[in-house]
Amino acid sequence: MQGTGAVFKREFQGYFATPVAYVFICIFLFCTGIFTFYVGNFFARGQADLKAFFTFHPWLYLFLIPAISMRLWAEERKSGTIELLMSLPVSLAGVVLGKFLAAWLFTGVALVLTFPMWITVAYLGDPDHGVILAGYIGSFFMAGGYLAIGACMSALTRNQVIAFVLSVVVCFLFTVSGAPIVLDFFAGWAPQILVEAIASFSFLRHFNAITEGVIDLRDVVFFVSLIALWLFANAIAVEMRKAG
């Protein structure tokens, strides 16, 4: 697609041209460490797996991913560079995709840098490496889901704080949509099929399914189609709000 490559390259290099990348990666690694060892009781569990590590990923992403995605479009709109960008011979879909892929690869880099966890567990015991790999793949796809939501929210406003707050709220709803906090709201009046449908949007449900070690095609399709849907909404939001 026209412009995807150029935008991807600029965005990805952009993370490392500013302190954003280093701050994000440090905080991410620090938090995963804290959660795994203190909150997740990695040692006390006495099991050679990374369950304690992966369990907290949705909750970490809930706040860290919107911090990455909030600037994607809001910053361009605020500084007026969106006008420059969209008057280049690039397609809107190409730009949307380029920005998303750069951010996704960046979170992938942060995720890969947690490899000492894997080494630790491999050193201490005899883990099922297939399950751990599945956990990483699931976590990466889930990060993509959060990012796509965040990118769309960022396209709705020129204010990064608003983009952040909106993203956290929407991401939270998708995270817990299988939990009573959301389902109770619908259970009283909505038809059962709708309640089931809402529950099936839960990131937790799909992510947990993958971290069990079974990469079910349905879970992957869920995240991929969710990403596609939100990026489509992202493109519409950019198109509609361009003039404002």
Binding site: K9, S79, M86, S87, L88, P89, V90, K242
Partner: protein, 253 residues
């Protein structure tokens, strides 16, 4: 065939008509001064030419191609300097120009040659590896200009190219425009009337979205609509034209 043709262009934002049925043509070798008070609809018109926003009515052709039908083709033929010359502050001018070259599909030796050409023309060689954030306003503007002329476009749309520059910098930018003029169709918007006399071969005046007058240099001055202005006296004529303009907003009410 005109390189740039605008036909009955209109843009409405809700109840406000920002641009109201504007038509004009620009041929090769022409530098068209696009004049009007602030808020007259100059930038909106230029955004529509650049393909950033779409018109409510009317159309724009660049090299015979319609902006709405073949946006990638027309965007490839246009060099556009948006109002305020936005650039990415975290990048260096080199990185920024390389990004624009990539987005415009330039490759290999041609890419390098075009970047060198643009850098040389706006004279930013010595700040190429400094972050744009740290550059002065004049240099930021030059980086924006470099981006616009990078692909040697046949049509140049420059929205207030000299706004906020000091007199020396203004002079340089005007020199640059004059140098590039023969092979291109150039539109510059401005509310500085000395600029019109300095670089333009033709001028149009708009106010409240409407085209009010067209003008060109004549023997001993400028003819702008029905008014004649001696050198340096365009201001008075401009005021006479724009202050007496009927308000399209009032008519709509």
């Amino acid at each position: 065939m005109s390189l740039l043709e605008i036909r009955g262009l209109s843009k409405r934002f809700g109840p406000i008509t920002a641009v109201d049925n504007v038509s004009f043509k620009v041929d090769q070798g022409e530098v068209l001064g696009f004049l009007g008070p602030n808020g007259a609809g100059k930038s909106t018109t230029m955004k529509m030419i650049a393909g950033f926003i779409s018109p409510s009515a009317g159309g724009v052709s660049v090299l015979g191609e319609d902006v709405a039908e073949a946006p990638l083709k027309t965007k490839a033929a246009i060099g556009y300097l948006p109002e305020g010359a936005p650039t990415y502050p975290d990048m260096t001018p080199r990185g920024f120009l390389e990004f624009v070259a990539d987005a415009r599909g330039l490759k290999g030796p041609e890419r390098k040659a075009r970047i060198d050409y643009a850098v040389e023309h706006v004279d930013i060689g010595h700040v190429l590896d400094q972050s744009i954030d740290t550059l002065s306003k004049g240099y930021k503007r030059r980086v924006g200009l470099a981006q616009a002329i990078l692909h040697d476009p046949p049509v140049l749309i420059l929205d207030e190219p000299t706004d906020g520059l000091d007199p020396n910098q203004k002079h340089e930018v005007r020199e640059l425009i004059r140098r590039m003029a023969p092979g291109k169709a150039i539109v510059i918007s401005t509310h500085i009337l000395e600029e019109v006399e300095a670089v333009c071969t033709r001028a149009i005046v708009i106010a409240r979205g409407r085209l009010l007058a067209e003008g060109h240099p004549v023997e001993g001055g400028w003819q702008l609509g029905e008014h004649f202005a001696e050198p340096g006296r365009l201001d008075a004529v401009f005021r006479a034209i724009t202050m007496g303009a009927p308000s399209s907003a009032q008519e709509a009410a």
